[in-house]
């Protein structure tokens, strides 16, 4: 096995083996567990950094293994995979640090971190999957790996949320499977190829291809929380904060959005998808989801629920960008895939800090909390501004390209959707920011935990501060080499050059 074959496998293995090893640790072996967690995360990050450079230089990383006659299991690193892999690797490190602090002293930590690592394994596998079968394999693995995290607390509410989560995701998976098998039946093999593979099928297959597209998008749309398939996401908020952070930023919702991007660009091909008339309906669904999520977020008093509906809305920006025919929209969608992850993870870290340190779960309890936790709330404010799209945050870059892309694709109504959504974002985030900084504390915090010199434990504080800095940095240095924007441009060039 050459190095270029081994690397994609190693990137998956760094979290898979870590996860499996952690299952066998006793609760008390905390140091070893932390060592394994951080070691795995850092090793993955190093490998990813190496591969990122390689892919940029045109290296070919691929490994395959026959699963069925004529169908291989394929892991391949192309430019699009690397965007998602890098996001996962970076946020896994931050979230691991956060989770170590967050779960300090709670039971079943080995089980938690075991599944946590498996969850990242599935995400990275989704990113690196080189064909539709491999993608499906990791997509279903992700469902199974996240379920124990959602129900981790074992309360009735958590169990109920787990049921809802499974009902949605397994049904979505089943629909996706039908679409996948159907495509394989027509094509024999469905390798992800830049520019798509379906255009060569004869014209009498086009009706079937439209049905298959609907099946694939419905199956992927469940995880991407497209309206009306989003119901599981607000329910899954009962999970511990690090899980919510991971679910909303990289793992589950992004897996769906990433899958839709893959299907449009590397299975159908953007031009062929446009010829079949598939893009406009998808853009409409995405737009409805964007507006619906924002509207629902307005009225939520629970902070995590507000953030959840915000995710419903924000993830569809990616889908909207992907369904705009034209390179600028593509860039906007792809860059938002990364930017949204970093901003959303920050917001969830902060929400977790409030809950863990002061017992605050609702927006109405947050008056004056900026004085008590300035660093946390500073990070929150930066990320919230990013979500609204205020320059120079990362979110501004996404929205700028998406807006330009809408005009470029002759979809001026999509620009209107973006503008309205931004106003709505401001309407549900700015009151929070105002309450936090400008209102006086009117009642004691629900349950204040003792902390030391810092406002909370440093493991809880460091991750959101760093991701907030990233939010700022990725906006300020958007044109630096290897920035998400530059990488999205690289992906786009490779997708459109055919």
């Amino acid at each position: 096995m050459s190095l270029n074959e081994a690397l994609p496998l190693l990137v998956v293995a760094t979290s898979l083996l870590t996860g499996l090893a952690i299952f066998f640790l006793a609760e008390g072996q905390q140091r070893l567990r932390i060592g394994l967690n951080l070691g795995g995360a850092l090793a993955k990050l190093a490998l990813v950094a190496f591969m990122l450079r390689g892919v940029w230089q045109g290296q070919h990383y691929e490994i395959r293994y026959p699963v069925l006659p004529g169908i291989d299991f394929v892991l391949r690193a192309d430019a699009l995979s690397m965007a998602f892999v890098t996001l996962s690797a970076v946020l896994w490190l931050f979230t691991t640090i956060y989770a170590i602090g967050y779960l300090e002293g709670s039971p079943h930590r080995s089980r938690f971190f075991g599944f946590f690592s498996l969850c990242v394994t599935a995400t990275v596998g989704i990113a690196l999957a080189g064909n539709l079968l491999s993608f499906f394999l990791f997509y279903e693995f992700l469902t199974l790996a996240t379920y124990p995290l959602v129900v981790h607390r074992g309360t009735d509410k958590a169990m109920h949320a787990g049921n809802i989560y499974l009902a949605y995701t397994l049904a979505g998976g089943a629909i996706l499977l039908v679409g996948v098998v159907w495509l394989y039946h027509l094509l024999g093999n469905v390798e992800f190829t830049q520019g798509g593979v379906l255009a060569r099928l004869p014209a009498d297959h086009h009706d079937q291809l439209i049905v298959i597209f609907a099946l694939l998008v419905a199956g992927l749309g469940v995880k991407a929380a497209l309206f009306p398939l989003h119901g599981w996401l607000p329910a899954a908020m009962v999970a511990p904060a690090p899980v919510s952070a991971l679910l909303h930023a990289v793992a589950v919702v992004k897996a769906g959005a990433f899958g839709i991007v893959r299907v449009i660009y590397d299975v159908y091909g953007i031009e062929f998808a446009a010829d079949l008339g598939l893009l406009l309906p998808l853009a409409v669904v995405a737009s409805i989801t964007i507006l619906y999520g924002s509207l629902r977020a307005l009225t939520q008093d629970g902070l995590k629920r507000r953030l959840a509906f915000s995710t419903v809305s924000q993830v569809s920006y990616i889908v909207l960008g992907a369904s705009m025919f034209g390179p600028i929209g593509t860039i906007g969608g792809l860059v938002h895939l990364v930017h949204q992850g970093i901003m959303k993870v920050t917001l969830f870290f902060c929400a977790g800090n409030l809950a863990e340190t002061l017992g605050i779960h609702r927006v109405s309890e947050m008056a004056g909390v900026g004085r008590r936790m300035p660093w946390t709330m500073g990070a929150f404010t930066v990320a919230a501004f990013g979500m609204i799209g205020v320059p120079p945050m990362a979110g501004f870059i996404s929205k700028w390209y998406l807006g330009l892309g809408a005009l470029d694709a002759a979809m001026p109504w999509a620009l209107a959707v973006l503008v309205i959504s931004s106003l709505l974002n401001a309407a549900y985030f700015l009151p929070v920011v105002y309450t936090v900084w400008f209102r006086q504390q009117d009642k004691p915090w629900p349950s204040e935990a003792r902390t030391g010199r810092l406002e909370t434990d440093w493991t809880l504080l460091l991750p959101p501060v760093l991701t907030a800095l990233l939010t700022l940095g990725l906006g300020l240095f958007a044109v630096a080499a290897f920035s998400p924007l530059e990488w999205a441009k690289l992906v786009t060039v490779r997708e459109y050059q055919r």
């Binding site: 499974l166 998976g173 039908v178």
Partner: protein
């Protein structure tokens, strides 16, 4: 390697378990327990070598005593038979090790070993027979051994279940025998290959086919003739349940496949195939719904067997409707479903046996605390569930993929719907179990320690069901060799 390929393994696959059956009967429970691992290992080696031979040199054939059919008894093994023989040996090994630990402090070991060896011998003989009457004899032997095994649970319930089972098994054999008699009367031979040549389409042949098929679907417990299965499989001791659900019903299914492909292929079977498929679909839905409502763990697994058997019968609807030559994936899907269900279901019964032994309760609502106290058993159960639901990367997924592909190839979208809905229902009932197991233990709940073997043998079988998904190309190539 050459010497290995030249070895005549076919008789040994029957003689070996028969010898162990006799020895176990004569020497008593203690000695039987001691020699079992050696016999199981030999069986595994023999089955593995046979599969190797078939893969390398094509189907194996041997006339006992040099007397060729129609005078003598001929043994025959192609890729399909080799796979079924391997399945038997692979499942029997961990189940046997489990039984050694399980019956150590429980009554029943005296009868378990002779009957199990006899069961294995008759299944192996069935897979190797190429003659419809010998097949009848093996079927009857198999039924009797299985009924005997159900009874070793002791108690009135086990006896009643065994009597019901006996009734069904004998009735099934009778129908089959009537069909055989009709064929013999008309064509004066019992050899499968000769019959296939001489069989002519007509009411006579159709009646024989119908009788034999009815007899065999009773034994395979296809809806609505499944009444005997839940009490027998749910009420037996765990190692017996595992053998019955994983292996015994697969033997009659195998025979059906063999007859439909090799013998009735010339008849017009499209309508009958659709009927079997429809019954299979009904079994999937009905079995799953019963499993969803069931309160006891082992009965839930038994109902799941009824549902999973339904998938096997979709094969007939798919293969008969095939006029363009996509039968390959239908056959592969049906056989793969049989193989992966064997591994997954035996893992499930063994894991459940360990859980019940530890908690002293069979009620699903009282499984709380298992995830911390018996994590290995629970993991085995979960892994087996993945295969039953048909999620990747498991044998069940490969089977489902192939069956879905066959449904698309033959343009029968309605089976797609059945399979998708069936998969979701399966997920619903297995997660009912897993969800309870994840809850923290109630105050004061006592767990008895469980021998490590009980947990590990369940895990081994669950890993086999996973491995079937990762190494599908080899068994599928073996199977494809038959039709080449």
């Amino acid at each position: 390697m050459q010497a290995l390929l030249a070895l005549d393994l076919l008789p040994w696959l029957i003689v070996l378990p028969l010898a162990f059956a006799t020895a176990s009967f004569l020497l008593g429970a203690h000695a039987a327990r001691a020699i079992a691992p050696a016999g199981l290992a030999l069986g595994l080696v023999a089955a593995g070598c046979l599969a190797w031979q078939v893969a390398g040199a094509g189907p194996q054939r041997q006339a006992l005593g040099g007397w060729e059919a129609p005078l003598g008894i001929t043994l025959h093994a192609d890729g399909l038979a080799a796979l079924m023989l391997s399945m038997t040996a692979v499942v029997a090994m961990p189940v046997g090790l489990y039984a050694r630990a399980y019956f150590r402090h429980r009554p029943g070991g005296v009868h378990f070993w002779p009957l199990t060896w006899f069961l294995i011998a008759s299944m192996n003989a069935l897979y190797l027979s190429a003659d419809v009457f010998n097949l009848y004899v093996t079927l009857e032997m198999l039924g009797l051994a299985a009924v005997g095994l159900v009874m070793i649970g002791g108690g009135a319930a086990a006896l009643e279940a065994a009597m019901r089972y006996l009734l069904a098994a004998v009735a099934g054999s009778l129908f089959y025998l009537l069909g055989v008699a009709l064929l013999y009367g008309a064509h004066a031979t019992l050899d499968l290959a000769l019959l296939a040549v001489r069989l002519v389409s007509g009411p006579h042949a159709a009646l024989a086919a119908a009788l034999m098929t009815i007899g065999l679907i009773v034994k395979t417990a296809l809806f609505p003739l499944h009444f005997w299965l839940p009490p027998a499989h749910g009420g037996a001791t765990p190692p017996v349940s595992a053998l019955l659900s994983a292996l015994v019903i697969k033997a009659s299914f195998y025979l059906l496949v063999r007859l439909w492909l090799d013998l009735f292929g010339t008849l017009d079977t499209v309508a009958a195939g659709q009927l079997l498929g429809a019954l299979g679909a009904a079994a999937i839905l009905w079995g799953s719904l019963l499993a969803l409502r069931e309160k006891k763990l082992k009965m839930l697994i038994a109902y799941s067997t009824i549902a999973q058997t339904g998938y096997l019968f979709l094969f007939f609807a798919l293969v008969t409707a095939d006029r363009v030559g996509g039968a390959g994936s239908a056959l592969a899907g049906g056989v793969y479903q049989a193989l992966s269900h064997a591994a997954a279901k035996s893992a499930m019964f063994l894991a459940a046996g360990g859980m019940i032994a530890s908690m002293g309760s069979d009620v699903i609502a009282r499984l709380d605390g298992l995830s911390t106290r018996l994590p290995v058993s629970l993991f085995a159960f979960a892994l087996a569930s993945v295969s039953l639901v048909g999620l990747p990367p498991s044998g069940g997924f490969i089977a489902k993929w192939l069956l879905l592909d066959a449904a698309l190839a033959t343009g029968q979208w309605w089976w797609l719907v059945v399979m998708v809905v069936g998969g979701l229902l399966t997920a619903a009932y297995v997660f009912r179990v897993l969800r309870h197991a994840f809850l923290p233990a109630c105050q004061g709940k006592v767990f008895q320690p469980v021998p490590r073997t009980l947990e590990l043998s369940a895990l081994a079988l669950a890993l086999v069901s996973l491995l079937l998904g990762l190494t599908a190309t080899a068994p599928l190539a073996l199977l494809a060799g038959d039709r080449a």
